[in-house]
């Protein structure tokens, strides 16, 4: 599903450059649950952003579902964000001005899902995550764990084939973290959603099939 060939990424610093990723080769198959690990500054978030089409690699080749990403137009990428890719962030990044319901609804609006179907799909997800009672609350009225639940609900409501999670439990305590990770596992197993997460915790990594260790911009 995902194929990276000789991917590198560097930023200009002064007259030289600072390499963040160096010659990364990586293949992730559909249905996998992969954890990317490594110390801070090792480049794992950058790798995730490249995988999620949020950043462009400085060199190398990236095939998403067999299609070369660097040849895609801005529009095509946005289409992928609408349909194929879901994101979960450490800081949740819910839209503060929208209620839980409206936050979850937003990706469907961009996908032009008709109103009745939208309602039923949002209701399904709310039901599944047990947050029906919270649907009219605003993000700042929720606890961190609940916010992340909403974040995940928002990520899966458009039925993506892959979810990229950037330290999804980084701001949560361990009980909440376990709930979130079990949810990911469940999504991976029953809904067959490919999951790629960045994490610091061995425990969280243990929920996945495979761990990719990254250090100083290289896979070990």
């Amino acid at each position: 599903m995902i194929q990276l060939k000789h991917i590198s990424k560097h930023y200009p610093v002064g007259f030289g450059k600072n390499a963040v990723l160096d010659d990364i080769d990586l293949t992730i198959h559909a249905g996998e649950f992969v954890s990317i690990m490594g110390p801070s500054g090792s480049g794992k978030s950058t790798l995730l952003h490249i995988l999620g089409l949020l950043e462009e690699p400085s060199g190398g080749e990236y095939l998403f579902e067999g299609e070369p990403v660097h040849k895609m137009s801005e529009k095509k990428r946005t289409q992928l964000h609408r349909g194929s890719i879901g994101f979960v962030f450490q800081a949740y990044h819910l839209i503060d001005e929208l209620t839980v319901y409206e936050n979850i609804e937003t990706p469907l609006l961009y996908k032009n899902v008709p109103s009745s179907e939208r309602k039923s799909r949002v209701a399904d997800v709310l039901d599944r995550f047990n947050i029906v009672a919270k649907k009219d609350l605003f993000p700042n009225q929720l606890s961190g764990g609940q916010q992340q639940l909403v974040g995940i609900a928002r990520a899966i409501v458009a039925e993506p084939r892959v979810i990229f999670a950037d330290e999804p439990t980084g701001n949560l305590h361990s009980d909440q973290a376990r709930v979130i990770m079990q949810l990911f596992k469940h999504l991976n197993e029953t809904d067959k959603i490919t999951i790629v997460q960045v994490t610091h915790s061995e425990q969280n990594a243990a929920f996945g099939h495979r761990v990719i260790e990254i250090r100083d911009g290289k896979i070990r």
Partner: protein, 806 residues
């Protein structure tokens, strides 16, 4: 999707209520001001546009190249129009236009009424629709009059006016006329005004002058045929002029006058009717410089721009808090276009609210605005075809400028950086600073212009005119009163009273009286083989004393000499024209004809008998009863001026019960000459105040945003021992620099503009540097106060609190 946007927009606006309020209020006020200014300008531009044949309608004027300079005037001789119609087939219709009478009588009741003498073509040429009566040829008979609806109601009440007979006061006699038709009221934006129309044959002195080519008394309007052009007419007019003005041309040639560009000494020209409102040659025209309405439009645009800048700056500054939402939206699959549309939509929402509020305010303020600046605006002006689409266009433009730029900027931000929270704000600061500087450049410009205009106006009012204006009461003599008799009677009545120093009469008021009228009378005659031109003023005994004029040579008119009715007083300018003081004193001038020359008995010091826009010209005073008096002047002692005014009114009422007159002091009259300047400077002052207020509202909101962002820095500095004063300086410094820079940019521009404006005045103030310093000080002071409110608050905050907030 749309509902989602609307919700977000509404919640965002509500969350930042202060900024929203500043935005909406600022824009609403700007819209109000702009709407009022545009209406004011639109009224000026709408003058005489309502005539169906406006393309073909032209006013005739004549240019004469004298030795002393070129004279252009719209007053023409009476035989010209008939000759014109005979010799120019392209003149489809032509009409003379002149005051016939000011007084009508119906069943022994008198009414002041503006009766104009016109030719029968008049109602065919101009679109003054007839409502009832004879609609084809209402002025066929010499005894017919056409009356406007308003005047008809005033005179006849609810009775049917058509067929009624009424009397008109013509050259000292009452004459009977029959109302043949009722016309719609003359629109308020018409240069030609009348209450009634009668045939031109009834105008004063018609019998004497109907064949006189050397006396110019009235205006002439023509309607050209559809194919004819003004240029072709003017070319053909050359032969016509050579034929009928032969004597005048000969005299000019003899004096050595230099022909104009077209090679002619006397030329007949046309100007489109729609231009006369902006033309000072036409007597009916408004003499309004096109500069003024364009200036008003420009000021409207300025104010709107300033409010837009506030909007932009606040949106960009607020973008910081919005950027996370926008970044997330992009990740969730929003195209950049969609994001821009969303943000622009929010701008449209805010601007729309502001526009509605602005239109409502303009609607409610219109009566007050009209009263304040003596305008006659109505919302009917909005019916002009260009105005509403124009307004809509401006609105879209405002939303594009105010909302579009920030939207584009926010949408372009790098998603990842936004979400990481490492957003660079350096570049937007530069844009912000440029915008703030622009705002204050405009504000300081308006302040400078206002100050200079105000100084000039003050100077015009205060400048000594060479005669006493504070203590002289001017009484306009009504049409139906014998002025000579009235003067004698007033002299007798008032002579016993203490405080009445002199009573005299004249035919031309000083300045503009309550009736708003002013007149100019010029004579020209040949003296020692050269043409001499002079203003001509009928006065009476004691005029020199009453007006406080200074005799520099000779003597005043005196009852002791029986021959003084043919004697003349002249001013120094006139004396210079006659070859100096010695040569002038005692000179015999053939003013009317060479058989009865009139002798110069005295020379008075030059005084400003016209407005200060003009240089003093040659002036000749006479007491010849052939020139009827129009005004009685009463010189009173200093002190109880209102008391004397009452006394004069009482005495007049005692002499002429039931006859109303409206006396005024001459200084009121001279002030009234600068009414337009006062009106415009009033608008200017309001605009300048508005501009600075709106700019400061923006500055205030920006400083609120910046202070919130720098709260932690201030806290840390305070913990490290910074004083409150130090922190206030630190926070205000940047803004002060911007405002200073603005003043420096604005000053030379203002200097240039106002120097141009001052050229309109023969007497003017020099522009001095103090004005710019003062304007700078005002702008700076207001800005510093605005910013300080926030920085002092930030500086006084408990540092522990502010550090803990993060």
């Amino acid at each position: 999707m749309f509902r989602n946007y609307l919700k977000i927009a509404w919640r965002n606006l509500w969350k930042s209520r202060l900024l929203t309020a500043v935005n909406i209020l600022g824009l609403a006020v700007a819209f109000t001001a702009s709407i009022l200014l545009v209406l004011t300008a639109a009224r000026e531009f709408s003058f005489d546009q309502f005539h169906d044949h406006k393309q073909q309608l032209q006013q005739l004027y004549i240019s004469v190249h004298h030795v002393q300079g070129t004279e252009e005037r719209s007053n023409l001789p009476m035989p010209l129009t008939p000759a014109l119609k005979q010799e120019f087939p392209e003149v489809k219709a032509a009409s003379r236009f002149m005051d016939a009478s000011g007084m009508v009588r119906y069943r022994d009741k008198m009414y002041g009424s503006d009766v104009m003498g016109v030719d029968p073509d008049f109602l065919r040429m101009f679109s003054f629709p007839l409502l009832s009566g004879e609609k084809q040829q209402p002025l066929r008979s010499l005894s017919n009059v056409v009356i406007t609806e308003r005047m008809a109601r005033k005179i006849f009440g609810s009775a049917e006016p058509v067929g009624q007979s009424l009397e008109m006061y013509l050259e000292g006699r009452w004459k009977t006329f029959i109302v043949s038709a009722v016309a719609e009221d003359v629109p308020d934006n018409s240069s030609l005004e009348f209450d009634m129309l009668c045939r031109f044959e009834h105008v004063p002195a018609y019998a004497d002058q109907k064949d006189a080519w050397n006396s110019s008394t009235h205006e002439v309007f023509v309607q050209l045929s559809d194919q004819a052009t003004a240029a072709a007419f003017e070319r053909r007019a050359k032969t016509f002029v050579n034929k009928y003005f032969a004597e005048g041309i000969r005299n000019l040639q003899r004096d050595g006058a230099v022909p104009g560009k077209d090679g002619a000494l006397i030329g007949l020209h046309l100007m489109p009717l729609t231009d006369i409102h902006f033309n000072s040659i036409s007597s009916s025209g408004g003499a309004i410089s096109r500069f003024y309405p364009y200036m008003l439009l420009l000021i409207g645009i300025f104010i709107l721009f300033i409010a837009c800048v506030n909007f932009m700056n606040l949106t960009i500054a607020g973008a910081f808090s919005r950027s996370r939402e926008i970044g997330m939206r992009k990740i969730l699959g929003a195209f950049r276009g969609q994001v821009i549309m969303q943000l622009w939509g929010e701008a449209v929402l805010v601007c729309g609210l502001a526009l509605l509020a602005g239109m409502a305010m303009a609607y409610f303020l219109l009566p007050g605005y009209n009263a304040l600046f003596s305008n006659r605006l109505s919302l009917n002006l909005l019916r002009q075809p260009w105005l509403l689409p124009g307004l809509f266009l401006v609105f879209v433009l405002v939303t594009l400028v105010a909302g579009g730029y920030p939207a584009l900027m926010i949408a372009r931000l790098n998603t990842i950086k936004v979400l990481k929270g490492s957003l660079l704000t350096g570049r937007s600061n530069r844009v912000r600073n440029v915008l703030i500087v622009t705002q204050f450049v405009i504000s300081s410009l308006l302040i400078c212009c206002t100050l200079i205009a105000w100084q000039q106006l003050n100077y015009l009012r205060k400048k000594p005119l060479g005669y006493s204006k504070e203590q002289v009461i001017s009484i306009p003599v009504p049409y139906n009163v014998d002025a000579e008799l009235a003067l004698t009677r007033m002299r007798n009545q008032l002579s016993g009273h203490a405080g009445i120093l002199a009573v005299t009469g004249t035919d031309i008021n000083m300045g503009r009286g309550r009736d708003g009228s002013s007149a100019t009378s010029i004579v020209s005659f040949d003296y020692k083989g050269r043409e001499v031109r002079s203003h001509w003023l009928r006065v009476d005994y004691d005029y020199v004393g009453a007006m406080g004029l200074q005799l520099v040579a000779g003597r005043d008119f005196s009852r002791a000499y029986g021959t003084d009715s043919s004697a003349l007083l002249i001013n120094e300018k006139m004396a210079a024209q006659l070859g100096g003081m010695e040569a002038a004193l005692g000179a015999l001038l053939p003013v009317e004809d060479s058989a009865h020359p009139q002798q110069v008995i005295g020379i008075v010091k030059d005084f400003n008998f016209k407005s200060l826009k003009e240089e003093i010209g040659p002036l000749t005073l006479n007491i010849n009863k052939e020139w009827p008096l129009q005004y009685i002047f009463v010189k009173v002692a200093a002190g109880n001026l209102p008391g004397y005014m009452n006394l004069v009114k009482q005495q007049w009422q005692a002499l002429y019960p039931g006859s109303s007159t409206d006396p005024s002091f001459l200084d009121e009259n001279t002030d009234r000459q600068y009414r337009r300047e006062q009106r415009f400077s009033g608008i200017f002052i309001s605009a300048a105040v508005l501009a600075i207020i709106i700019s400061c509202m923006g500055l205030f909101a920006i400083s609120v945003l910046i202070m919130t962002r720098r709260t932690r820095e201030v806290g840390v500095r305070k913990v490290l021992g910074a004083s409150v004063a130090g922190i206030v300086t630190l926070l205000s410094k940047d803004f002060v620099k911007l405002v200073l820079l603005s003043v420096m940019i604005a000053s030379p521009v203002a200097w240039y503009i106002m120097e141009q404006w001052l050229q309109h005045y023969a007497y003017r103030i020099p522009v001095n540097i103090g004005v710019f310093l003062l304007a700078g000080a005002i702008a700076l002071l207001v800005a510093v106060i605005t910013v300080s409110i926030q920085s002092v608050r930030a500086a006084l905050m408990n540092p522990v609190k502010s550090i803990r907030t993060e």
